[in-house]
Each structure stands twice: as structure tokens, then as C-alpha cells.
Amino acid sequence: MSKKRMFLRMITASLLRRRSRMLIALLSIGIGATILAGLVTIYVDVPRQMGAQFRSYGANMVLLPEEGRELNSETLREALGAVPETELVGAAPYRYIRLDMTSRQQSFTAAGTDFGEITKTSPYFSVEGRYPENPREVLVGREIAETIGVKVGSDMELTWQPTVLAGESTPEESRVPGALLSGSAEGFGTGIVYVTAQLDENGAIASVTVNAETQTPEYGGLVAEDEAYLAQFTGKTLPLAPGDTDALTGATVTSEAVVNALNSARKASEDAKPKTLSFSVSGILTTGGEEEGYVFMSLADMENMTGSDHLDVAELSVSAGAEQLEAYAEKITAASDAVRARLVKRVAKSEASVLEKLTALVFLVTLVVLLLTMICVSTTMMAVVSERRREIGLRKALGASDQSIRAEFLGEGLFLGLLGGVMGAILGFVFAQVVSVNVFGSSITFQPLLLPAAVIVSMAIAALSCLAPIRRAVSIDPAIVLKGE
């Protein structure tokens, strides 16, 4: 048998056959390594975890339309092209309008949005019931639900009053008899024909005036002046079907444009009318924030009510650090001339500062755990040396040099470190996994590098911890074995 094998046999036998005391040393190294490996694993994984965690506090970027430009689903999609799909957690579009609930004489803000995206950008939204899935379903903020007394499954009638612009006929006026409608349509040679129709109290046409200045004066232009042509509209109701009226001879295209303009004027007036739709409440929303004062509906329902796919804002949740986020915002603003991106500073900044504090905390805890482990192992090894005084004396009496004694104890320490390190790497991963699942709610992947790292660190700690005990072991007088105690 070689000396090396005998050496290994001795140190392993010491650990395996002596158990109790060495088990304590092994445990302290193992537990130390477990905590360290766990912390490091969590720490390595934490930026990702933190990102995900912060994403759950809401969006960290908003997209707004540029001055005078339109934000809609199309321009939004273009703008989102600037952010890699893997980094984009969610992008929730919002449009806000005022809606009336006629039965209660209440008015509140309604938000049109994409519920699939909301669950990603605002995971903290808590819904009693469920998110709307079908057309004509709404999600009602808790505050509103309590004020007006609706529950999941209730029906509610909502009315949209279009905004009245100065100089236009008000929707109210357009509904009453005698309203004035105006519209336009493309006539001959891309010229626009403008019409104004005065309605009587029954909603039938009382008179029609045409502006056809863009048309050829001796043909189309004549429709504005031909009394007989214009008179045929009187008494008819809009919309006009083909064949309801005759075209002016020589001005077929312009005549058609007049009819089209009248029909579009009628449609515009219809669209501009308040629209009342009935919705069923699919869920009550609790957020702890101002969202509780809103009613949420799908963008499709909102477009149906208002006739437009306009968006006010889009909230983005992007999985990126503060700097990267800034870069994405600039990229989006640069890439799209209709949209500009802004960071939600509060979220982005606190994410960075929490990470920083966490780094410091992990560092500190690591240091403390290292120190505690060393103290524990050192104390245990010191006790082991005391317990084995006679054995050490015997070894020296048998001719062991100080060097051999050092090598044996260091060997035992390193062996302990090896076992503790392997134990620590495995248990540490389990520990990290448990913490991750319980605290962050997601699992982590095993870092293959963790095993050698944990083993090396444990062995180093064990070796360091053994220095003082080894010094004591070396100082033991071999003569103690002679005095029969």
C-alpha cells in the first residue's frame, strides 16, 4: 500500500468512523456552504427575478402620441418593433373616454384596453369574477361598483356623448327636427362636392344646397344651380338608395357625388349621436389605485361606441435595467415619428436602487456567514484536537513529524470541506429554489459552476479554520502517552 493511500485511509476513517464530533464540523461547513451557495445562486438569478418582480409593480415605460399625431393600434405596433420581443413583457394600449350611466345619472371614465396585455403589464390587478372575454363585457373598478351598486353579472347601460367641437352642430341639435346636415364627396376629376341638407321636423329633406365649384362649370357645376334637380330631394329621407333620384344630364358623376355627400352627412350625424350600449359586468377590479374609479372595456367595444380606433397612451413593461430601458425609449422615439416613449422613472429607478442594496446585503450576509462558519469549524476542530490529544501524542510517539500531523489535520479539514461543499452546493440549490419559489414565485436553473465554486470555497474555509487547531495539535507533547492517565 502506498503512503498516499494510507494517508487517505486514515483521514477518511477519522471522519467516517468517528462521526459525532466531525459530523458537527461537517454540518457547520455544510450549512455555511448551503447558505452561501443559496445566496450566490439567488444573487446571480436576482436581476432577472427582480426584473420580473418589478414588472409586477406595473409598467416602466409609456408611449404617447407626438404632438398632432395619431396613436392607434397600427402606430403602436410599429413603435414596439424597436423593443426585442423577448424583453417586452407586455404593452397595454389605453383610450380614455367619458361615459354616462343614464339610469343613475352618473358619469365616469371608461378605459378601452387589451385585457390580455393588462395581465402582463399590471399583474397586481386583482379581479373578482374574470376579465372580459366576450364583446359587451366590462370590468368595473371597485370604487364605481360600490357607488352604483353593480356586481359581477350585473348589466349596465352606458352612453357615449361625443365631444362637441365649436362651430359644428351639436349632437343634440342634429337629433331634433330641422337639423342641418353637411357632407362632402369626391366628384368628377377628384374635385370635392360639398352639400348641406336642411331637414324638416320629420327628418325628411326640406332643402338641399350644393357647392360644386370644383366641377366643370358647364357640366357638373350646373347641379348647384339646377332648381328642378335640387327640388327632387325635398321630402325624401336619408340615406338615399340608387335610383331614388335622377342624375342631371351631362353631370352623372357629380350627381352621384351629391348623393354620396348627403349619405355621408347623414352617417356622420348618426355617428355623432350619443350611442347607448348595454354591457354585462364580468368582473370587479381592485388595484388600490385610481384604476378602481374606471370602467374597462375592450378596444373593439370602444371603437364600436365612438367610431374611432384612437389611443391615448400605451403602457409598456420592458424587462431591462435602467440604462437599457433608456436606450429602448430613445430607440422607440427615434424609430417612430408618431410616438414618443417616456420612462416611468419611479419604477425604473427603484429597481436599480433595490438591486444595489441587495448586492450590499448579500455581500454582508456572505461575509457574516463565512465568518460564522469559520468560527464554528475552528472551534469544533479545536475541540477535536483536544479530544484527540492522546491519539496525536501517540502518532508523534510513533514517529510522526510535525509536518505529518499538519498534513493529516489539513487533510481532514480539506476532506470535510469537500464533503461540506458538495452538500452545500446541492442543499444550497434546494434552498435557493425554495426561496425563489416562495419569494419571487419562479424557479431557478442550476448553475453548473456552483458545484466546483462551493467545493473550493468550502475547502478554503475549512483549511483556514484548521490553522489554529493544527498549531495546537503540533504543540502536543508525545510524552503524554507515557503517563498513564
Partner: protein, 228 residues
């Protein structure tokens, strides 16, 4: 030819003269017993002969080398190479088997050789107990393992400290028989004891009192079958 020679050796602890100007010699192949009441300086002499302590004054020649002024590192080497130790408390490494305990001695001396270690156990009649831990061996068996360990590296001198102090009579006789065999083979034996029966087994008994050699007794009956 003398293997060990003490010349005017004194060991002084403060005011206490543990050994006071002691001179003695032990020949190659001789079997000597050292006797004396406790406090007579037996242990001190044992430590000095066993290369575990140095005298305050005087010379100690072991195999012609003065070991009284060597460094403790050198003393360790000499002890390992020339002396086989047997203790009252047996002293085995309690987590190693009988054969492994013998191999520890080989390990520090030169090379562990399991076959040779097993032969040594065979010699003390414990071949079949080779894989037992000390806790599984009786006191007598443990001491026999220690005898096997002491002779495994073929030492010039076997130094035994109260080797039978913790043994019953049957085991004491087994150990003394082993000593007799070793003596026949030419091994030099120094046995420190307070047991007159053990001392009687030796060729010569040196009696210490108050750190001095009080008297030397030659055992006239040595070699005769007295135990029959």
C-alpha cells in the same frame, strides 16, 4: 556491546531533581526492568530514553549517538527509527482497525505494508482480529496489537511503560511470553514497571529511588521455567 548508556544524567524541574546524576548502561539484546515507587524518576527516565525529553545534564548514548542535545525534530527521527514503544494504556487510534494501527507505525517509518502488518498480528496470535476496531478488542488483545506495532519496524530497542499495568494475569503472561520470545530473537527490551513479577521476568532489574539508582538486581533464575 552497550546499546544504551546514561552518563551522569540529571533532570531538574525547578527545585525538583527528578533524576539525580544517574548512570547506567543496557547491552544489546539485554532485557532490563526499571522499577521504583511513583516519584522515583521512572517516567522521566522513560521519557529521556524514549527520545521524548532531554536531560538537564549528562549524556545519553543510544546506539553510539548522543541524544541528549539533539533537536526535537531529530529526536522524533531517532525514536521512529530505533525505538518501539508499548504503553500502559495501550493507545491505539480508536477509529482504525488493528491492522491499520500497525500500518500507521509503518506509515511514519517507511511504507505501509499490509501483508507484513498481518504477519505481525499473526505473531501475537491476532491474525483473525485484524479487521476489528480497538473497541471490539479486549484489553489483552489491544496490548498484543501494540506489541506487534512496536516491533513492526524492527527497532533496536523496545521500551515498554507498565505494559501489564492494565491487564489481568492471563494476559500479563501472554505479553511476558511475547517479550521472552523477542528477547530470544535478540531484541533489546527495557520494561518500566512497579510489578515485581514483571520485573522478575527480566534479566536485570534497576531500582530507582528519589531520582537515583538505588540498586541493581541480577535475576538468577532468568531463563528457567519458573511459571510452571
Amino acid at each position: 556491546m552497550s546499546l544504551l548508556e546514561l552518563k551522569n544524567v540529571s533532570k531538574i524541574y525547578g527545585d525538583l531533581k527528578a533524576l539525580d546524576n544517574v548512570s547506567l548502561h543496557v547491552d544489546q539484546g539485554e532485557w532490563v526492568a526499571i522499577m521504583g515507587p511513583s516519584g522515583s524518576g521512572k517516567s522521566t527516565m522513560m521519557n529521556i530514553i524514549g527520545c521524548m525529553d532531554k536531560p538537564t545534564m549528562g549524556e545519553v548514548l543510544l546506539d553510539g549517538v548522543d541524544i541528549s542535545k539533539e533537536s526535537s525534530k531529530k529526536l522524533t527521527d531517532i525514536r521512529r527509527d530505533k525505538i518501539g514503544l508499548i504503553f500502559q494504556q495501550f493507545h491505539m487510534v480508536n477509529y482504525l482497525t488493528a491492522v491499520e494501527n500497525i500500518m500507521v507505525s509503518q506509515y511514519y517509518h517507511s511504507m505501509p505494508d499490509e501483508k507484513e502488518a498481518l504477519e505481525a498480528l499473526e505473531r501475537v496470535g491476532l491474525r483473525e482480529r485484524a479487521r476489528h476496531l480497538p473497541s471490539q478488542l479486549s484489553g489483552g488483545e489491544q496490548q498484543r496489537v501494540c506489541v506487534a506495532r512496536a516491533l513492526i519496524n524492527h527497532p533496536e530497542l523496545i521500551l515498554a511503560d507498565e505494559p501489564t499495568g492494565n491487564l489481568d494475569e492471563a494476559n500479563e503472561n501472554i505479553v511476558l511470553d511475547l517479550f521472552a520470545q523477542l528477547h530470544k530473537e535478540g531484541t533489546t527490551l527495557i520494561v518500566v514497571t512497579h510489578d515485581p513479577e514483571v520485573a522478575d521476568a527480566a534479566q536485570r532489574t534497576i531500582v530507582l529511588e528519589h531520582g537515583k539508582v538505588a540498586r541493581e538486581v541480577i535475576n538468577e533464575n532468568f531463563g528457567k521455567e519458573t511459571k510452571a
